[in-house]
Symmetry: C2
Subunit: 754 residues, 2 copies
C-alpha cells in the first residue's frame, strides 16, 4: 500500500496539508499556525519534522502528483469525515492512523491548528467523503403522502396548476416600480385566464367548471408565486366576476361572464368608500333611477365618499358599483350596478374620476385606486338584479321584502372571498415556514466554545418552539378551510348564515396567525430574512393587509360573536342587536357543570393528548364566554343602557368569544378529519399535530382557564411542557412536514432555502 | 326680523334647502327624496307646500340673493350645529323653530330626508357654526410639560435638533430606488455632520462635546425623519467612529476622529460574517501579523466568511475590521483593525471585494454590503490597540491577560449602540402611535344604525385597549433608556458588566415592543395604514430588523439571563457557563416566602395601583425564575449533562428570565423617577401611566402568576378590568399624551395624521 510510505507522524498531518494546499495557496496565517504546531509537536521524529516543514514554503508548493497522491492515501482508508465531531479534521487524522497502525493517540497539536486556523468543515467538506451522524430530517414519513392528504379531492387540479406555475412568467424577481410590476401581474393574470383558471368557478356555459373549492385551493398556491398576482386574480374573477355571477341574472351572465373569465373584460369591485371602511351598508354613493330616461344615475355625493382602494381600478373598463339605490324617491338600500368606467381606448368615461392609490406596504403589483362618479348614467339593465330589480314600469321590486335581509343575502353570496383570503394567508405562512425551516436545517449557530462544528439552528429548543406549533397550525387550518369551502359550496344548504359567521371568524384568526408566523420566520432567519431576495419580506408586506381587507378582523370577530350569541339566527353582518337580545333569554339558563378536581389537575400524558379533553376545553370556553357576555349585555340593558351602547361595552368580550369559537371550530374540524385517515402511520402523525395545536392554543389562553378554575397550576405548567416536548418530538420530521405543504420546488427560489 | 317672513313650516326646511343648493346643483336623487318628504309632510299648509316645491325645480334654482338670505336667517339664530346629534340637521331645524316660535316638534319627515339623502355633517359642516359637545381631547394636561419631563437634561439640545430637522433636506417622500435613496441619505448625514451632530459623542479636541446621552436622545428624534438616516448616521459616527474612539488610541484619534465626525472620512464597521451571525467571537477573518514587512494581513478564509450586511459599505473608504489576530503563530482572539477599502477615487483597494446586499424589507437608504478580503496588507499601526497591541519588536501585548476578558472588554465599549437601537425603536413606536391616535381622533366608524354621525374610532373600547397601554409603555421605556444611558456614560463606574446586561435585555424587550406596536398601529389605521404616504409602512419595514441587529434578541435575552444568574459577575456576552454554575450554589438557597392568601385575592383599587404591589410582583417573578432555572441547571449537571447542553435545555426558561428581569428594571426605573416629578398634577399622571404599564405587563403574564399561586383568579380578572379602565380613563388625554412625545409637527406629514 502506498500509505506505508508515510510514518504515523507524517500521516496524521496529511489531511491538514491536503486541506491547506487544496486551493493552491498557503496564506501567511496558515504558514505560521501550522509551523508553530509542528515545532511544538514532540511526537515527531527529526525526519518527520523536516518532511513536514518542507511543505510549508510558499515557494515550493507540492506538485500536482503529490497532492493527488495525498488524496489517494485519504480515499483508500475509506474513512469518512464526521462534521459533527468536536474536532472533525483532527479526529479524521486520528482515525487514519488507527487504520494503519496499532496506536492512535489524539494529537492535541493538530487540534491547535484546527482551532487557530479557524477552519470549519464547510470550508473543506468537498474534499472528503462525509458521514452524516445526526440525521437532519427523518424519512419515516413521506411528504408526498402528507401533501396528498391536504390536497384531498382536488389533487389532480392542484398538481396540474403547480405544473402550470413552472412557466417562466411566474419566476420571482424584485420589483420596485409599481407601473412595471402591475403590467407584469396583469400579464400573469391573463396567462392564467387563458389556461382556464379565471372562469373556474363559473358555470360550464361560460367556460368554467363551477368548482369553487378547487378555485380556493389553487388560489392558495398562487401565493407561492406572488401575493399581487393572487389578489389581482381574486379581484378580477372572484369579486368582479363573482358579483356578476351571483348578484346578476342570465342577461348579465350572457353579456359579461365569458369575457370576464377570459380576462378580456377587466373589472373592479367598487364597494368600500374612504369615509366608511367597514360599514358597507352606510356607503354614500347613490344610484338614482331616472324614469324619464330609464337610466340609473351613479353619483358620489361628498369628496370623501369616493370608492377607495379598489383593486384593478387602473386596468378595468367596468366596475361593479355598490350604491344606495333610490327609486321613486325611496332608498332601497345597497345594490350593485355595472358601470362602464373606460371606453375601448381605455379612456375614462365622462363623469368618472380615478386616482392611483400609490405605493403600499405590499401588493404593489395590484393597481388600487380611488373612484369618484359624477352623475354617471347607465341603462336600467345594468342593475345586478337577482335580489332586487327595477321593473320596466319604473317600480322597485324584490322577493326579499325585509331590506336588511336583502342586503345580507347579497353580501352573503360573496363570502367565499373571505375563505379565499384565509387560504391565501395560510399559503403565505406555509411558504415563510418552508423558507425558515429549510434555512434552519442548513444554518449553524455558535455553541460550546470548544466545538468546531456549530449546531444547526433547528436543534435549538427555542427555534423548535418558534416554528413547530405554527407548522401544526398550518395543517389544522388547511383541513378546516377545505371543509369550510365544501360546506359553503354545498348547494343543498340554503341558509348560509352559519357558514358565513364561521368564515368571518376563521378569516380573522387565520390571517392574524399568518402575519405572526411570517414575522416569526423573518426573525428566525435573522438578517437573511430581511433581505428581499429571501422572499419572506414580500410575504410580510403582502399578507399584512389580509387582516384588514374583505372585512377588518376586529369587525369580523364581533360579527362571529353575535352569530354565536344568536345561535346563527341573526342576519349575517347585521348589527343584529335585537335578534341577539331576543335570543339571550333562552341561553342565559345554560349554566356549565362544575369541573371535577381530579380533572383540573390531571397531567397524565394520555389525558393531555386526548381529543376529548381538547374538545371539552374549547367547547367549555365558547359556552362560558357566551354565557358571561350574554349576562353582561342583559345587565346593561336592564339598567336602561341602549343596546348599541351595551354591545360597545362588551366589545373586548365579543372579540374573545369570536376567537374562542373560531379556534374550537378549527380544532374540532381537524380532529374529526384525522379519524378519517385510513393509513395508520399518517393518522397518528395527524393526531400528534392535532394535539400540538390544541395544547398550544390552550397554553396561549392558560390565564383564562386558570381564572375559571378549569385547570390548576400544575396542569397549566404541563401544557407548556408538552408543547415543548411535542415540538422536540417532531424535530426529526420537520423537513418532511414542510415538504408536505407541497410548495412546488420552482416556487422556492430564496437563496437561503435552496 | 327677516325670519318673520317664513312660517314655521317653511323655516324648518330652510337649512335643508340651504345645504342642497349650496353646491349649486340639485341632483336627481335629491329632488325625489326631498319632494317625497314634502308631499308626505301633513303639517305643511298649502302655501308652505307650494313655496317649498317651487325650489325643487332644477330649471329655476334660487337666486344668489335668496341663498344669501337663507344663510342670514340661519346665522342670525346663533344656533350651532352639533355633529354628534343623532340627526344633526333635523335637530338643527327643530332648534331654529324653537328659536322663533313656541312650539317646536321634531319633524320626522326631515329625518327621512336626512337618512335617505345619506348626507353626513362632514358634507355640509362648512356651512354652519359648529358646536363640539364631546371634547375630542382634553386640555387638562399640557403636552409641552410632558415633553419637558421626557427631554430632561437634554431639552435645549433636543429642541435645537428638532429645529434643524425643519430643513427641507429632511422632508419625507416615497423612495423606491435604492441608489437615489442612498445618495439622499448620505447627503442628510453629511448635513448633520456639518451641523456638528456627527462628532457629538467625541472629545472636544475632535469637534465633539463628549455627550453620549444627548447623542442617544437626538438619535431617537432621527427616526421621526427616516430610519435609514438614523441607521446610516449610527454606523458612521457611532459604530465606525465609536470603534476608533473606544478601541483606538491617540494616534488613531488624531488621524481619523475629526474627519470621521465631519463625515469627510466615511467608514464602516465590519464585524458580522455571513456564516456566523451572532457569534462575533467565532469570526473567521484573520489578521496575521507579518514581521518581515511589519504589516498585518487581512484575509477572508472561506467563501462564507465574508463580512455581511455591513452598513455604509458602498460609500466608505475605510473599514473597522474585526478579525482573529494571529501574531507569531498564535491566535490572540478578535481585534479591530482599520483597513482602507477604497482609494481617493473611490476605487476598491486591490484584494477587497464588495457586493451590494441589495434590496431589503426596509432601510433601503442604507448601503449594506458584503466584504471579502484577499491578503490585504495594512501597517501594524492600523490595529486599534487600546486593549491589545503588537509591539515594534513583533510581539503581542495586552494589559488584560485573560483573552476572554479582553474580548468582552472590547465589545463592552460598544454597548452604547444597543441603547441607541432601543431608543430608535422607541422613536418608531412613538411616531406610529402618534399617527394612529391622530387618525382615530378624526376617523369615524359606523355604529348604531339610526345615528347619522358615526363615532370616533378612538371612542371604541377595543381601540383604546390597542393603543393606550402602548403609549404608557413608551413613557416608561423613554425614562428607562435615559437613565440607562446616564449610567452607561458615567465614567466613575468602571465595571460596566451590569449595565451591559441591562442594555441587552432592554434592547430586546423594547425593540419587540416597538415592532408589535407599529403593527398594531398599522392595523388600527386599517387600509389607510397600509398606504406608504401614511408612513407607518416605512416604520414597519425599518424597525423590523432592530430585533436582529446589534445582537439578536433571543441571544441577548439569554445573555441577560446569564448575567442575572451570575449576579453580573460573569463576562458579558460570554457563554460564561462556568461562572454561572459557580454562583448557582449560593443562590439556590434563595427561597421565596409564601404569599399571604389575602394578598393573593386582594382586588382593591388602592392595592392594584400600588407601586409596592407592582415592584413586589415583578421582583418575585425575577427571583422565582432565577431560582427555578438555577435548580434545573444544577439537576442536569448533576446527571452528568455537560453545562453547554444543560443551558440549551433551559433555553426557553432563560428567555423568560431575561424578559422578566428587563420588565422589572424598566418598571422600577420609571416608578422611582415619577417620585422625582415636582409638579403634582404631572406626577399623578405619570403614576397612572406607571400603573397602566405594570398592570398590563402583569396581565400579559397572568398565567405564570396564577400557576405560581401568586394571584388568584379574581385578582387576575381584576388586572384585566383595570387595564381596560385605565385605558378608558386616559381617553380624554390621549391626544395630549401623544403630543407629549414632542414629535415635531414638520415630521408628522402623513395625510391621515394632519
Amino acid at each position: 500500500m502506498e500509505t506505508k510510505n508515510y510514518s504515523p507522524g507524517i500521516l496524521q498531518y496529511i489531511p491538514f496539508f491536503y486541506v491547506i494546499w487544496s486551493d493552491n495557496l498557503l496564506s501567511y496565517s496558515e504558514t505560521s499556525v501550522v509551523k508553530k504546531a509542528i515545532e511544538q509537536d514532540d511526537t515527531l521524529t527529526k525526519e518527520d519534522y523536516n518532511y513536514l516543514i518542507g511543505y510549508l514554503d510558499k515557494k515550493t508548493p507540492p506538485a500536482y502528483q503529490e497532492l493527488k497522491h495525498w488524496k489517494k492515501v485519504i480515499s483508500n482508508t475509506k474513512i469518512k469525515l464526521v462534521e459533527s465531531d468536536t474536532y472533525p479534521l483532527s479526529t479524521f487524522s486520528q482515525k487514519m492512523i488507527c487504520h494503519h497502525f496499532d496506536e492512535c493517540p489524539f494529537n492535541s497539536h493538530l487540534k491547535d491548528i484546527e482551532i487557530n486556523l479557524g477552519i470549519q468543515p464547510n470550508h473543506y467538506n468537498h474534499l472528503f467523503e462525509i458521514e452524516i451522524i445526526k440525521e437532519i430530517t427523518s424519512s419515516y414519513y413521506n411528504p408526498v403522502e402528507l401533501d396528498a392528504i391536504l390536497k384531498g379531492d382536488h389533487a389532480s387540479i392542484i398538481d396540474t396548476f403547480r405544473d402550470v406555475l413552472k412557466d417562466p412568467i411566474f419566476n420571482w424577481s424584485i420589483k420596485r416600480d409599481k407601473e412595471s410590476f402591475r403590467a407584469h401581474v396583469l400579464k400573469q393574470v391573463e396567462f392564467l385566464a387563458k389556461e382556464g383558471y379565471g372562469a373556474m368557478a363559473y358555470p360550464t356555459l361560460y367556460g368554467g367548471t363551477e368548482n369553487m373549492p378547487a378555485y380556493a385551493a389553487i388560489f392558495e398556491n398562487m401565493m407561492y408565486v406572488d401575493g399581487s398576482m393572487a389578489v389581482k386574480f381574486g379581484v378580477q374573477f372572484g369579486l368582479f366576476g363573482g358579483s356578476i355571477q351571483k348578484l346578476g341574472t342570465k342577461k348579465h351572465h350572457d353579456a359579461y361572464l365569458s369575457e370576464t373569465g377570459k380576462a378580456k373584460l377587466l373589472g373592479c369591485f367598487a364597494m368600500t368608500e374612504t369615509g366608511h371602511g367597514s360599514n358597507v351598508r352606510g356607503v354614500k354613493t347613490t344610484a338614482t333611477y331616472d324614469k324619464e330616461t330609464d337610466t340609473i344615475i351613479i353619483h358620489t355625493p361628498g369628496k370623501n365618499d369616493n370608492k377607495e382602494y379598489i383593486g384593478n381600478a387602473l386596468h378595468s373598463s367596468m366596475a361593479s358599483v355598490f350604491a344606495q339605490l333610490i327609486v321613486e324617491g325611496k332608498n332601497h338600500g345597497v345594490h350593485a350596478i355595472l358601470v362602464p368606467i373606460r371606453d375601448a381606448e381605455h379612456k375614462l368615461i365622462p363623469g368618472v374620476t380615478i386616482e392611483d392609490n400609490g405605493y403600499k406596504l405590499g401588493l404593489n403589483g395590484v393597481d388600487n385606486g380611488k373612484i369618484w362618479f359624477h352623475q354617471v348614467r347607465v341603462p336600467r339593465e345594468n342593475l345586478l338584479n337577482k335580489y332586487g330589480d327595477i321593473k320596466p314600469d319604473g317600480t322597485y321590486h324584490s322577493d326579499i321584502e325585509n331590506p336588511s335581509k336583502r342586503f345580507f343575502t347579497m353580501l352573503g353570496t360573496l363570502v367565499g372571498g373571505r375563505i379565499c383570503v384565509a387560504r391565501a394567508g395560510l399559503g403565505g405562512a406555509k411558504k415563510a415556514l418552508a423558507i425558515a425551516v429549510k434555512h434552519a436545517l442548513k444554518r449553524r449557530q455558535f455553541n460550546d466554545s470548544v466545538k468546531i462544528q456549530e449546531d444547526l439552528l433547528m436543534d435549538y429548543p427555542s427555534h423548535q418552539l418558534r416554528l413547530t406549533p405554527a407548522i401544526a397550525s398550518c395543517y389544522v387550518y388547511d383541513i378546516t378551510l377545505t371543509h369550510m369551502m365544501k360546506e359553503y359550496s354545498d348547494t343543498t344548504v340554503l341558509d348560509k348564515r352559519k357558514i358565513e359567521t364561521q368564515a368571518a371568524g376563521l378569516k380573522s384568526i387565520i390571517t392574524w396567525f399568518a402575519n405572526n408566523t411570517i414575522q416569526e420566520c423573518r426573525e428566525a432567519c435573522g438578517g437573511k430574512g430581511y433581505l428581499m431576495e429571501n422572499q419572506i419580506t414580500d410575504l410580510k408586506g403582502d399578507v399584512d393587509i389580509f387582516t384588514t381587507f374583505e372585512g377588518d378582523n376586529h369587525v369580523l370577530l364581533q360579527l362571529a360573536a353575535k352569530g354565536v350569541l344568536s345561535d346563527f339566527k341573526s342576519e349575517f353582518n347585521s348589527a343584529g342587536f335585537t335578534a341577539v337580545l331576543k335570543l339571550l333569554g333562552a341561553r342565559i339558563g345554560d349554566k356549565l357543570n362544575t369541573i371535577n378536581p381530579i380533572y383540573i389537575n390531571n397531567t397524565d400524558k394520555d389525558h393531555l393528548y386526548d381529543v376529548k379533553f381538547h374538545k371539552h376545553a374549547f367547547n367549555y370556553r365558547t359556552r362560558r364566554l357566551t354565557y358571561t357576555v350574554a349576562m353582561r349585555i342583559r345587565d346593561y340593558v336592564k339598567k336602561g343602557i341602549p343596546s348599541y351602547q351595551a354591545f360597545l361595552k362588551v366589545q373586548t368580550h365579543l372579540l374573545a368569544l369570536g376567537k374562542a369559537y373560531s379556534v374550537e371550530l378549527a380544532y374540532s374540524t381537524f380532529a374529526d378529519f384525522t379519524d378519517t385517515i385510513k393509513d395508520e402511520k399518517n393518522r397518528l402523525l395527524f393526531q400528534k399535530i392535532s394535539a400540538l395545536y390544541a395544547l398550544h392554543e390552550l397554553k396561549k389562553d392558560a390565564s383564562w382557564y386558570l381564572e375559571q378554575g378549569y385547570i390548576g397550576g400544575t396542569k397549566s405548567k404541563a401544557l407548556r411542557k408538552h408543547v415543548e416536548r411535542l415540538s422536540t418530538e417532531l424535530r426529526p420530521h420537520i423537513g418532511v412536514l414542510i415538504d408536505g405543504f407541497g410548495i412546488p420546488e420552482h416556487c422556492m427560489e430564496a437563496p437561503i432555502a435552496t
